[in-house]
Symmetry: C2
Subunit: 292 residues, 2 copies
Amino acid sequence: MIKNYLHDNKVWVDTYLADVLEDSLPEYQTLYDAMHYSLLLGGKRIRPILTKAVMEALGVSADAYKNVVCAIELVHTYSLIHDDLPAMDDDDYRRGQLTNHKKFGEAMAILAGDGLLTEAFSLIGRPSAADASQQIACIKVLADAAGPAGMVGGQAMDISSEGKALPLEELQVLHRGKTGALFSAAVTIGLLLSRADEATTKAFQTYADYLGLLFQITDDILDVVGTIEELGKTPGSDERLDKSTYTSLLGLDGARAKAQETAEAAKAALVDTKADITVLTALVDYLISRTN
Amino acid sequence: MIKNYLHDNKVWVDTYLADVLEDSLPEYQTLYDAMHYSLLLGGKRIRPILTKAVMEALGVSADAYKNVVCAIELVHTYSLIHDDLPAMDDDDYRRGQLTNHKKFGEAMAILAGDGLLTEAFSLIGRPSAADASQQIACIKVLADAAGPAGMVGGQAMDISSEGKALPLEELQVLHRGKTGALFSAAVTIGLLLSRADEATTKAFQTYADYLGLLFQITDDILDVVGTIEELGKTPGSDERLDKSTYTSLLGLDGARAKAQETAEAAKAALVDTKADITVLTALVDYLISRTN
């Protein structure tokens, strides 16, 4: 059952994250509180779970690499804090709770994001079963996914294009940066930690590309058909911000068809590998099932 | 002549930084422009020059390690962009030019800072003469200096303490995070790249602690006695923001005495090493000379 798998592994991630921020100087307590608040606000932990699932598909346990696997979630959390800022999407709620800047003020929220982003790289540098070459390869992959050619670039394009109708091609570039890059990094880090061969790497990275796209399309659909309980925020936010989405460009039915087609392509990418693809395939079906 | 040394090495750093941001997708051009703008706005490049000088003092050329050495300046530049934001110090000018958010808007400035911070870690991961162990050690040092226990922590304390009179002890904690941590990292990265022995490392790190403190004290003095040309910004900004400084706590003469004493301690730390300490000693004298 994929729901049990997701639940158990969310606990695995949450347990590690609860203690990951080390003791601070008393003078810096507010900053640590702000970082901790957003890091433990909940969330599905889909990215580190994806890394762990990739490793397991290749017969490697993630237990001795928790620091590297969970570093991805620090980067994801930082990006949510900064995306929610008044100068960006100006959101008051995230996962049903006040956003970081509503709770700690704008300056502290900027710094909490900066702190989580920086700490992610330090975390990968902590001792683990990963050797120095694996650590540096994972840092390079994560930094490139998070940086100007990835998430930061995608977000820059997003804020520049509010109120403009983007053609589908540009929307895909935007999402490849904003969402796809970190999904892709999560899979690649799993491959690096598993020392996967070239053919497996290629197949899994194709899977990652489709999975990231699928995640974005289903997210856009959920913003239209989801409830406030499912989303943890008010639905319809894309429309209010006049953002181009897969549903605004393709219509709801068109977006659903595109999601189905993308899901098939993701699964097809894995068929010829020697890996145990049960969980990775179930993840695809799970993303589709959320929109029905 | 230390001034020639600083000039020549500023050119060495600037030349590398001019090309360090790789080609971007056309959609992300504004973000790259914003990153490039602040990275090439000038500045003394004192931190990477310090790393290079440490290596030279130990008989190692920095030429094959430019990416690692200059990554420090990306972190410094990111911190200036975020410190200048309206929610932080709200500065309109930096080095005599518009601050990033005045030129590119607040959202883009936040992202340009995020991009430079992230790119710093990717940069260290690029191929160079550093092996994987050195790369990961340098990333760990840089991330810890930049992160919540270092610069981000110091800045959080700084914004929380505006309008409050800090006792000297807390002011030192604040500055050890905000300024000292990156000075210390610059020296430690030079030591790591030079594979310095333990005794040398200890002596140089003591030097780094005093040098960072000296930099901050002389900066506070310059904010009182400097001209707008020397500072690239309006003097007296600390007083306007009602910030605790060495001059507000010790008076101008007291701060000058403290600077002199700190300079002597920095130089004394190096005396018993086998390194060529000419440039590192001259750097101390140079910092003092700026306040006379």
